[in-house]
């Protein structure tokens, strides 16, 4: 079906939502945030992702609403283009090619034909703010080469540039100075803070800047936690500033409220501070936000704020400082010790999340499902503290058990180890701690492996450790007179010549256990725990070990430290050695990512694909996901970009007049299914309506942006007319049916008239409701008609 398509590397999520400030739509219903190469549109009420705007080929670096049309969104990217989107329908309207790598985007209300972008022209560290004239043209792809220089030597971060007083001036900060460029006077004022190395001024660096919406006032954040409010800055001598000091660490971002009465600031304290009237004594706090506040943005309507956090989270906050919604992406921890694991129950990707937590991340919807607190200790953020690290995790028994290993090593000799076993509780739909084993081994645990064979009624877990032992843990009865309980105990300890155990693996049927001891692989019988045989192959220390599956279950694969893949045939004890470069791999994809690939995982597909080409057969049953150094999640996809778009374009038909709640999606799907059933049932007696796409009036209606259309009442009659069946389109065999229906209708003719008027009202009521009408398929119409025919006479009696 897709043989002709080549495999492509697709960014499938996990990108930073907190890379730039999030942007609110004008009505505060939606929030836009960058996410790798995409722009995501979330509903502020439901936290659901409504659209993903695809189109950029590199990191998206800036988002702004179109000042002349607040239903459109500008985005800029490292790929050198500015794109204009209709975010309600998720349609790309225009692409402006600028040509330089764009680092930030700014729009102004009164300069509608141009936008401001940050570019770096010559040297890698010298950034310029330029204004780009966006030519008016009807074509989709437009070259926008006309740039005008505004400011030089600025910081690349958009936090360090702010436009003030309806675009009269622009303020930019970098290092120790603030530059203000006045557009009318075409002059730049520069204010420098002391940068001497003494204790008091050492951290005077500017970190961010914001401009008051109404007054000539610039707020700047500093590395030492101070906020300075600059005034009178149009005079080089008379300028003055006030200090607000609450943060003890760097001010990460600042934002004024829409009216300018309050100033919001945030930093590493994870506390949102609201300074009312810009006075030091009058401030409000929203504490315990979980992680460093990276960005703050304010909705144009003024009713919502949002903060982007370093743990890839966006919190939507009400004007009264109450968090109302949390949009959580893939948490980026410093180190992914656990690797990528698939939860067999939810098919979610499981990996290290917040410090001491395990996150369950849905690959399909690109959002975090939940966080499991493993360490269960208060996290104190301090660079000098040595934290407890979550090192290993493994699922067993179809996701019924979860084993985790955490460790803390203060010094070389002081190792604290803890193994925890969690049972899945069906009632609470979560994991509950069952057994806690402190110091399960004397040294680091290198591998953790459950026996997943179905015939094994007794759950078994094997841990391999650097202390030379591997331990087998089984579930035993732990009941006492008070309650029935189960717990895990150590059943067997094995070792091989005091070598360090490096990995372990159960065969698919669970009958064999392979444990690698440095360069030697040992095979153990899982019934009696006796050593069956050893494979000694001086090919290097074995790092990974894996049994074959299905038809290949007689093979055992091992990967060594010096890039050799070994395969043992367990029946013949023969050995095959591959070097990754030499034999015939199934598939090689080069240049899959800009960065180092750290982890990979196969995720089983819900519906197997049917790749016929031999090269892609490995993708039939599962999909391969991998995580790069910067922790963006990538996958291989054979689908063409257009095809990838289809699910979202289906999605975009979600009526914008209805709130996009999860209930809506459930109910909507339910209704669709009902419709389909009806279709099937009534299939042959239905009037074959012409496809709406083929009617020019309707397609015109649907392809014109909603906000440029004339009023719905004006369009209504034309629209209804276009839906009416013309004689020519009817096929011969359908006519009798139609006649029958007409006869039916004839009996209650007056009712039908009412129907039509009501319908007209409907369209009036639902503004922008063309889509709905479009969706009122014939089956629905049928339904409506049926409803009409129901006797409503009882209503009159009420």
């Amino acid at each position: 079906m897709v043989e002709e398509e080549s495999l492509r590397v697709v960014r499938c999520g996990g990108s930073e939502l907190n890379f730039r400030r999030a942007v609110f739509s004008a009505d505060s219903k939606y929030i836009f945030c960058v996410s790798g190469d995409f722009v995501k549109v979330y509903s502020t009420a439901t936290e659901e992702c409504v659209h993903i705007l695809h189109g950029h080929s590199d990191l998206v670096t800036g988002l702004q609403l179109n000042p002349s049309n607040h239903l459109q969104l500008y985005s800029c990217s490292f790929d050198g283009t500015i794109k204009l989107w209709d975010y309600i329908d998720g349609i790309l309207i225009k692409t402006f090619t600028v040509g330089h790598k764009l680092h930030a985007l700014f729009t102004l209300a009164h300069t509608k034909d141009s936008v401001f972008v940050t570019i770096n022209k010559e040297k890698p560290d010298i950034f310029q703010l330029v204004s780009v004239k966006l030519p008016k043209s009807s074509s989709q792809e437009i070259e926008a080469k006309e740039t005008a220089f505004v400011l030089d030597y600025i910081n690349q971060s958009p936090k360090c540039i702010a436009f003030g007083n309806e675009g009269e001036y622009v303020a930019a900060v970098r290092d120790f100075y603030l530059s203000v460029y006045f557009f009318k006077k075409k002059t730049t004022s520069r204010f420098t803070l002391s940068s001497s190395r003494n204790r008091k001024h050492a951290k005077n660096n500017f970190t961010c800047v914001a401009c008051h919406p109404k007054e000539d006032c610039i707020a700047s954040g500093h590395k030492d936690g101070k906020i300075r409010l600059w005034r009178n800055f149009d005079d080089d001598k008379k300028y003055t500033y006030t200090c607000l000091h609450w943060h003890h660490d760097m001010v990460m971002d600042l934002a004024f409220s829409v009216t300018g009465t309050s100033l919001l600031s945030g930093g590493r304290e994870s506390v949102l501070v609201e300074w009312r009237d810009a006075t030091e004594k009058n401030k409000e706090f929203l504490p315990r936000l979980g992680a460093t506040i990276e960005h703050i943005s304010v909705s144009p309507a003024g009713d919502l704020f949002c903060t982007s956090h370093s743990d890839n989270k966006i919190i939507v906050i009400h004007r009264n400082l109450e968090a109302s919604a949390v949009i959580q992406g893939l948490v980026k921890d410093k180190n992914i010790f656990t690797g990528l694991i698939i939860d067999p129950r939810t098919r979610a990707l499981v990996l290290n999340g917040k410090p001491g937590h395990l996150q369950f991340y849905s690959l399909q919807s690109d959002k975090q499902l939940y966080n499991l607190d493993i360490v269960q200790q208060e996290y104190i953020s301090d660079n000098d503290l040595i934290q407890i690290e979550l090192r290993k995790a493994a699922f067993g028994c179809q996701g019924h058990w979860l084993a985790t290993v955490e460790q803390r090593q203060e010094k070389e000799t002081e190792l604290e180890l803890q193994m925890k076993l969690w049972a899945y509780n069906k009632k609470t739909q979560g994991f509950v701690l069952n057994t806690k084993v402190s110091m399960p081994h004397e040294d680091h645990i290198t591998a953790l492996c459950f026996c997943n064979a179905e015939k094994f009624e007794n759950p078994t877990l094997v841990t391999a450790s650097k202390d030379g032992h591997f331990k087998v843990w089984i579930l035993t009865d732990d009941s006492d007179i008070y309650k029935k309980a189960v717990g895990w105990t150590c059943d067997f300890v094995g070792s091989y010549h005091k070598y360090q155990a490096t990995n372990c693996c159960f065969s698919e049927d669970g009958s064999l256990l392979a444990v690698s001891f440095e360069e030697i692989v040992t095979i153990w019988d899982s019934e009696t725990w006796e050593l069956k045989c050893t494979f000694c192959q001086r090919a290097g220390k074995i790092r990974y070990l894996c049994f074959g599956r299905w038809t290949c279950s007689k093979y055992l694969l091992g990967a060594t430290e010096n890039d050799i893949l070994c395969c043992w045939n367990l029946l013949s004890c023969a050995l095959f050695v591959f070097k990754p470069s030499e034999p015939r791999p199934l598939y090689i994809q080069k240049k899959i990512s800009r960065e180092e690939v750290h982890w990979g995982v196969f995720v089983p597909r819900d519906v197997p694909e049917s790749f016929t080409s031999e090269a892609y057969q490995w993708l039939n049953r599962s999909q391969f996901y991998f995580l790069t150094k910067s922790q963006s999640l990538l996958t291989f996809s054979a689908k063409s970009p257009e095809e990838k778009l289809t699910p979202t374009s289906k999605q975009l038909l979600a009526e914008e007049s209805l709130p996009t709640t999860p209930f809506y999606f459930i109910l909507g799907r339910h209704r669709q299914q009902q419709d389909e059933k009806l279709n099937d049932a009534l299939g042959n007696e239905l009037v074959q309506l012409p496809l709406t796409e083929n009617i020019p009036a309707i397609s015109e209606l649907l392809h014109t942006p909603a906000h440029v259309l004339p009023s719905a009442s004006f369009l209504c009659s034309m629209f209804i007319n276009s839906l009416l069946l013309s004689k020519e389109t009817k096929s011969a065999e359908e006519i009798p049916d139609d006649v029958d229906m007409e006869e039916e209708k004839g009996s209650d003719d007056t009712d039908e008239e009412n129907d039509f008027t009501e319908k007209a009202q409907d369209t009036n009521d639902i503004d922008l409701g063309e889509d709905i009408i479009h969706q009122l398929s014939k089956s629905e119409e049928k339904e409506l008609r049926k409803l009409r025919k129901v006797d409503y006479s009882w209503v009159t009696t009420l």
Binding site: N165, E168, K214, E215, D216, L229, R231, N232, D234, K237, K238, Y239, T240, Y241, T242, C243, H248, T279, E280, K281, N282
Partner: protein
């Protein structure tokens, strides 16, 4: 004269200077007429409930604002009735509210009244409507003082936390005329209450309980960024508070309300340079003289022979005769001092203790002949010009022939004491004189100015000496000119005519006129390592200024005899230890 209103809490003169307002304990505001010869009660304003703590005139003189407890009243001067009563919020202190004391009010010409109160607020009121316009909560403690600049575009307030806040009137946007008051910079130069603030055109001046006077220049008003634009912190008065009797080794210390006389201890031990020798005889506290009433002592002096002590307050002049009988001391007040001597600004005894020179605040100089137990008024030098300028510095030549006197701004006048008539006037200089001294034998007058310039003027020749001309030609070392405190005392070594001894609060300097002058490239302050170097190097690098900075706050230094020098230090820690504890503030991270 009595205002008949109990204690007077506030007082302010009208913008024209012809009327005086006072606010009394009983809540009355009284208006007095100031005429050239007397102050006359004019009228009472509507009486308020509680004491009037602050008063301010509208610049046009038509209205006044009076700050009381919990409210501010605005009076119409013509009718004398209160037009508005503006009630100030109290502050919650736990469960109960504490009364809000209006420590200061200021009436601006646009009708805005600015008030500072004990709840830590700075509030802007519209006097026409009596409504609160804006409120700034700036401190957790009292805001105690306020001062507005003449242009009414900025003002300064001082708080009990030791912080001084600057408020400025800035335009809301660059292209509109609307302006708003904005709190700009806080300055924390004080540890204790800031009781008084002043706003000069170029600087903010504040002072309070911690005894410092801080002058913070406004950078935007300073034209050139030179040393004048730096922050000044003045701890000690730029005057001599100690006098010394060389003959009897006595020191007279002047305090605000009393005088202390001490006899110096002595030692018989000898030691190397830098040794601290044990005292064989401890210093004696001989006597303590207290003034009656609340008046401060303006000046005091002890005669070189040690048998006379003179001091003056605003209303009285005291002269005491001391007689010594071995260890005991007896004090006898000389009665019937003439009234014209009172509120003298400077008192000086001649070297032989036979004459007393008194500089009065009227600009005249009185010479009094002293003899055993009695006195005689010899002569009065009346101020020469019409401008009455008080003399505040005096110096007499050791031979008793010349008297040099200097006021605050005009030049130094020299009088001949033999013929009792003015001798000459030293050419005027822009900066006030801070110390005077007349050298023995040569009768060269050495003058130190507040800009750290030092001149030497030959009285007999009526011209600057060669050395003075030379140093003016070359200019002083830049480090010398950058010193913070003025020279407060000049003395001479009787056996080394080329030496001038002078000191300020942080250094003691001997100027050796025989050595070459330093230029900007040479080290002004002799580094300690030089003392270890060989004589050749030391001689090559030697220059006229020999400076010792080892004394910290040096109040007084004088040669007792050829081999003894007395220095009086006043460590700041001792002063701070006597102060009440400052308001405790939570400091982050402690």
């Amino acid at each position: 004269m009595d205002a008949f209103g109990g204690p007077i809490w506030s007082m302010t003169a009208s913008p024209s200077g012809s009327q005086l307002l006072i606010g009394c304990e009983d809540g009355s505001v009284k208006l007095f007429q100031i005429t050239s010869d007397k102050i006359q009660f004019e009228r009472n304003f509507d009486r308020q409930k509680s004491r009037i703590l602050s008063l301010s005139w509208h610049p046009s003189g038509t209205h006044i604002a009076a700050g009381s407890i919990d409210y501010i009243s605005v009076f119409d001067v013509k009718s004398g009735s209160a037009t508005h009563k503006m009630i100030v919020d109290r502050r919650y202190m736990g469960v109960s509210k504490r009364k809000c004391i209006i420590w200061g009010v200021t009436f601006l010409s646009d009708g805005t009244v600015i008030s500072v109160d004990s709840a830590g607020k700075v509030q802007f009121w519209d006097s026409a409507t009596g409504t609160l316009v804006k409120s700034h909560l700036i401190a957790n403690a009292d805001v105690q003082s306020i001062a507005v600049s003449d242009q009414e575009d900025s003002f300064v307030v001082g708080t009990a936390e030791g912080t001084v806040f600057h408020f400025q009137l800035v335009s809301v946007t660059s292209n509109s005329n609307e302006k708003q008051w904005v709190r700009t910079k806080p300055f924390q130069h004080h540890t204790h209450d800031v009781r008084a603030v002043a706003h000069s055109p170029t600087a903010l001046i504040s002072g309070g309980t911690d005894t410092h006077l801080v002058i913070r220049p406004l950078m935007e008003k300073v034209e050139v960024k030179n040393y004048d634009a730096a922050l000044r912190k003045i701890t000690f008065p730029h005057r001599r508070l100690i006098s010394c009797s060389k003959k009897r080794h006595l020191l007279l210390f002047q305090f605000a309300h009393h005088l202390e006389l001490w006899r110096l201890g002595s030692t018989v031990a000898t030691g190397k340079n830098g040794d601290i020798l044990p005292l064989s005889k401890n210093a004696d506290h001989l006597l303590q003289l207290k003034t009656k009433g609340p008046e401060n002592i303006i000046c005091s002096s002890i005669s070189p022979c040690g048998s006379w002590i003179a001091c003056s307050t605003a209303s009285r002049f005291f002269l005491y005769r001391l007689s010594y009988e071995r260890d005991s001391i007896s004090l006898q007040r000389v009665p019937k001092m003439p009234a014209f001597l009172r509120s003298a600004l400077q008192i000086l005894f001649s070297e032989d203790s036979t004459k007393l020179f008194v500089a009065s605040n009227q600009g005249s100089l009185h010479i009094i002949q002293l003899s055993e137990g009695c006195f005689k008024h010899l002569h009065t030098f009346q101020p020469q010009s019409e401008t009455v300028e008080a003399m505040c510095l005096l110096a007499v030549s050791p031979d008793g022939n010349w008297l040099a006197a200097s006021g605050t701004s005009a030049g130094v006048r020299i009088y001949g004491l033999k013929e009792l008539k003015p001798h000459c006037t030293v050419p005027a200089y822009n900066f006030p004189v801070t110390a005077l001294g007349i050298a023995p034998n040569t009768n060269n007058l050495v003058i130190a100015h507040s800009d750290q310039q030092v001149f030497e003027y030959s009285i007999p020749d009526k011209q600057y000496t060669e050395w003075s001309r030379a140093i003016q030609k070359q200019g002083f070392h830049h480090l010398w000119l950058q010193r913070d405190t003025p020279i407060t005392h000049i003395s001479f070594h009787p056996k080394r005519p080329m030496h001038i001894l002078l000191h300020d609060a942080y250094m003691f300097c001997i100027i050796d006129k025989s050595l070459p002058l330093p230029n900007d490239k040479t080290l002004l302050y002799n580094p300690l390592s030089l003392t270890n170097e060989s004589d050749v190097i030391r001689r090559r690098t030697a220059h006229a200024f020999k400076i010792s900075k080892k004394y910290k706050p040096l109040l007084f230094m004088e040669l007792l005899d050829e081999r003894t020098l007395v220095a009086v230090e006043r460590p700041l820690d001792d002063i701070i230890a006597q102060l009440p504890p400052p308001i405790k503030k939570k400091k982050f991270g402690t």
